[in-house]
């Protein structure tokens, strides 16, 4: 049992990778920049998921991937052209596939079977085969409609597919069903008589047979040389009929001539070949032949290759998608044969090793220890008499260099391209675009930027929130965009890049920008800002990150509960990062998230306050100056400020802010620190103790989050020093708590800025 679970875990990990590959391939296809190799890779990705799913009896997944695979195969054998619409269907299919995988893993919100069936139907239709699960209700006609618009923008097709169900009950009309049994019709358990009888309930009024039958003595009892034509007079919905006829299509050629389906919402999926042919030209040609041949195959597996090769050039594309348990081995073989035109590609196997994260964590911790021990050693050594010994000195220096290198290499193990999280975003955008009825595309860049795994894991949620925000509030409705002279389709750019020791993530949209008037009036209404406050544009923009703030005119299920952007800010700050927003009214909005590359090490400046030691992130320090009493002033409300190069900076006294009961020190130094959101801040300390790389330790491992502190580290002498979180400290000290008049407790304060 355990072993099984282990295999499953591995399988799901693999699925993740395959989905990633698939997403890559599909995005290349969407860009129109792909070759046979891309298609093969995409096919393989789907195929290996199917294989694994079969082995684990994940029937839903097998069924879906099978159809998916069939479509991919039609593509790579040039039977299907990678048009825009096709790509959109494939993208949706890959989303659905990942939903199915999540579902199989027992997480995720489950999947929507109707959607799955619909997508399967679309896939099957593209490949020109039958969907194993014809869509009930009137979705099918909608699909068929969309198929007519092959060249229209995909979103429209999607909209058509999502169109509300039409009312049941169609007008009564004459429907003619023609049944041409295949040679194995009877062996498959069918019987023409039963067929006719069953049709009675749909209101069969006339039956006639046609075709030649051999002389009685030459007649084979199990052969059905005659064909049948049944005329119904009925008000049955085309789809209902379709689902009834479906089982017959596997062993016979079934043609439905339904005047209503033709005239109105189009044909029944049970006979796509005929109707599609009527409606369109060449695009359906490939599909047309397929179902005709297809029916004979499922039961005639033994002779499959011969028979099908003779009849159809592409055997398994023509094979109707059969419901669940596929036979992976046999199938794989068939695939190879079918795909032999484009020679089996060599997988450029990247040499990778799957290692459990906690083993790496152990390694990282160990190295962290070594870094600390090394620092202790170096410190002790410098105080020793042996300091003069040149050889020992060299050895200690070499050690410290090697330790640093070791640490970097270990950190590199944990680094992962941000692609792991970026690649999930197109799906978020597509899902949302559909539910918001907006046209949005997302452009990713810099996906290969590497960041520590822990950062990656935590990034998904804030990114999703921000994309949602951009799509809900930023990007306008398509018509509104056209009116403004913008392209109908909105664009969101998501990019990542390294900036020194940090990684910068940009989310830019070409929407309407932040509606500052509305934001401000809302903020005043909610008491976030006092009515007579004058805020700069930037300050107004930053208000969207304020807790409990949302300008959505109506609460949508997308955003509007006023939690989104607040959560983003919290999450990013918890990662030691900052988020800022810049808005260009009418042109768009840009969010910038900067994050540390790793959460494990930090270049810090150690400062002393009394007996206590604190670490300030080196990157944020602007400069350290000697305190000049004359430059200090106190604003009403006991807020101390310091004059610094012509501006007034809020000043934080660490003793007060942290309630330290430590010996009074000189307090003669001031470190000016740049915070990303709230400008510069002056921090009063007693002494500077030098800069060094520190290993970040979480207080939450054994305790809890502490306000004003982002973590802790262990100093050379083994003592614990706290790493300060300046913006949080600022809020704590109450002094100049940003432009929002104090968050929470200090809400009643007047505004000074």
């Amino acid at each position: 049992m355990d072993e099984m679970e282990e295999f499953l875990t591995i399988f799901f990990q693999e699925c993740e990778e395959r989905l990633g590959e698939l997403a890559d391939c599909l995005s290349q296809m969407v860009e129109g920049d792909f070759d046979a190799e891309t298609l093969n890779a995409a096919f393989r990705a789907v195929h290996s998921v199917k294989g694994g799913a079969g082995a684990f009896g994940l029937d839903d997944l097998v069924e879906f991937t099978h159809v998916f695979e069939t479509t991919m195969d039609a593509l790579r054998s040039d039977k299907l052209e990678a048009s825009d619409r096709v790509c959109q269907v494939l993208l949706r299919a890959s989303d659905m596939m990942s939903a199915l995988i999540e579902d199989a893993q027992g997480n995720g919100d489950g999947f929507d079977r109707t959607t799955a069936d619909r997508i399967m139907g679309e896939l099957a239709e593209l490949a020109g085969v039958e969907s194993p699960r014809p869509v009930p209700g009137d979705d099918a006609p909608a699909q068929q409609t969309s198929s007519k618009k092959k060249d229209e923008p995909a979103a429209e097709a999607a909209a058509a597919a999502d169109a509300p169900l039409e009312a049941e009950g169609e007008p009564e009309r004459d429907i003619v069903i023609t049944l041409k049994p295949a040679s194995d019709f009877m062996r498959a358990g069918h019987d023409p008589l039963k067929f006719v009888r069953a049709l009675k309930r749909f209101g069969a009024v006339a039956v006639e047979s046609f075709g030649d039958h051999p002389a009685v003595d030459a007649m084979e009892p199990l052969e059905t040389p005659l064909s049948w034509k049944v005329t119904l007079s009925s008000d049955v919905a085309p789809t209902e009929l379709e689902s009834f006829l479906f089982m017959y299509t596997l062993a016979a050629e079934v043609v439905v001539d339904d005047p209503f389906a033709k005239a109105g919402a189009d044909a029944a999926a049970a006979a796509p070949a005929e109707d599609v042919k009527d409606d369109e030209g060449d695009a359906a040609e490939a599909a047309q032949t397929a179902p005709a041949e297809a029916p004979q195959e499922p039961e005639a597996k033994a002779s499959e290759s011969d028979a099908s090769e003779a009849e159809a050039p592409k055997p398994e594309a023509a094979k109707p998608a059969e419901p669940a348990p596929a036979k992976p081995a046999a199938k794989a073989k068939a695939d190879e044969e079918g795909g032999s035109k484009s020679a089996p590609p060599k997988v450029a196997a990247s040499k990778a090793l799957r290692v459990e994260l906690n083993r790496i964590d152990r390694l990282v911790n160990m190295v962290g220890e070594i870094v600390i021990t090394q620092a202790v050693l170096a410190q002790n050594f410098s105080e020793l008499e042996a300091h003069g010994d040149i050889q020992v000195t060299h050895a200690v220096e070499a050690l410290s260099r090697q330790v640093r290198e070791l640490q970097e290499s270990v950190m590199a193990i944990r680094a992962q391209p941000v692609k792991a999280v970026f690649s999930r975003m197109p799906r978020v955008v597509r899902d949302l675009a559909a539910s918001l009825n907006k046209d949005v595309r997302i452009v990713l860049s810099g996906e290969h930027t590497e960041v520590d795994t822990t950062v990656i894991e935590e990034l998904s949620e804030p990114l999703t929130h921000m994309l949602r925000n951009s799509m809900d509030h930023g990007i306008e409705m398509p018509d509104a965009r056209v009116e403004k002279g913008k392209p109908r389709t909105g664009t969101i750019n998501l990019s990542a890049e390294h900036r020194g020791e940090r990684v910068r993530i940009l989310i830019t949209d070409d929407g309407a920008g932040i509606n500052r008037e509305r934001v401000l009036s809302k903020a005043i209404e909610k008491g976030v800002v006092s009515p007579d406050a004058t805020l700069s544009d930037e300050e107004i923009d930053m208000l969207i990150f304020h807790p409990g703030f949302s300008t959505a005119a109506q609460v949508t299920n997308v955003s509007g509960r006023g939690v989104g952007m607040d959560v983003v800010k919290k999450k990013v700050q918890a990662l030691g990062g900052r988020v800022t927003v810049t808005s260009f009214p009418g042109e768009g909005t840009r969010f910038v998230i900067t994050l540390p590359l790793t959460l494990a090490v930090l270049d810090g400046m150690t400062v002393g306050v009394g007996q206590e030691r604190f670490v300030l992130p080196l990157g944020s320090i602007v400069e350290a100056v000697k305190l000049d009493e004359k430059s200090i002033d106190v604003l009403p409300g006991e807020v101390p400020v310091m004059r610094y190069r012509g501006e007034w900076l809020p000043m934080i006294n660490l003793r007060q802010a942290l309630n330290l009961e430590t010996a009074q020190g000189s307090g003669e130094l001031v470190v000016v620190v740049e915070t990303e959101n709230e400008g510069r801040v002056a921090i009063q300390v007693d002494e500077l103790l030098g800069q060094r790389q520190v290993v970040l330790k979480s207080l939450e491992t054994n305790f809890q989050r502490v306000d004003g502190v982002s973590g802790a580290t262990i100093l050379g002498d083994g003592r614990v020093a706290l790493i300060l979180d300046i913006p949080a400290l600022q809020a704590l000290s109450g002094g100049g708590a940003g432009a929002f008049g104090g968050s929470g407790a200090g809400a009643g304060q007047d505004m000074f800025f």
Partner: protein, 161 residues
């Protein structure tokens, strides 16, 4: 005081029902923590104070590379802050996945207790903090309060909204 000898008597008795407790002294009082939860006992070393914590949270210490909070048991039960010296000890115990250091005066004994020896807290004596005591055991003339660490030092680790 019939069960006064139990500590030595019960050494042979196996784990099924009995539990062993590490007992320690804070002033005149004795407290016990289940031995399986005690990871180690350390001499007191100065801690690094944390801002804005309850007065009994003495700060954090470095336990071979991990940061462990130290709680002052005397202060936790309403006494004054302990003037910690080298003679004081910190009992490192685990609460779920986390570790906590408990500052006490001295470790006194290891006690084997069977469930029937554990007395409930007299109902009349219930006070605010008694929830964090799971029961009372007597040993000789002493009364030992068994600590419920999760209740005594709860942590909040979810991101407060």
């Amino acid at each position: 005081m019939t069960d006064s000898k139990q500590a030595s008597d019960d050494d042979r008795k196996d784990a099924a029902d009995t539990k062993q407790y590490v007992t320690f002294a804070v002033g005149e009082r004795l407290y016990g923590v289940e031995i399986v939860r005690v990871r180690e006992i350390k001499q007191w070393t100065p801690t690094t104070a944390l801002p804005n914590q309850p007065h009994y949270t003495r700060g954090v210490l470095n336990l071979r590379g991990t940061i462990v909070p130290v709680q002052d048991l005397r202060a936790r039960f309403g006494g004054p802050i302990t003037e910690a010296t080298e003679n004081h000890v910190v009992v490192i115990a685990s609460i779920g996945e986390q570790s906590v250091g408990i500052l006490v005066d001295a470790v006194s004994d290891i006690l084997t207790v069977s469930p029937e020896d554990v007395r409930a807290i007299p109902s009349g004596a219930r006070e605010m903090d008694l929830e964090s005591i799971s029961g009372l055991v007597s040993s000789g003339d002493e009364m030992i309060a068994l600590l419920e660490l999760d209740r005594l030092f709860p942590t909040r680790n979810e991101m407060a909204a």
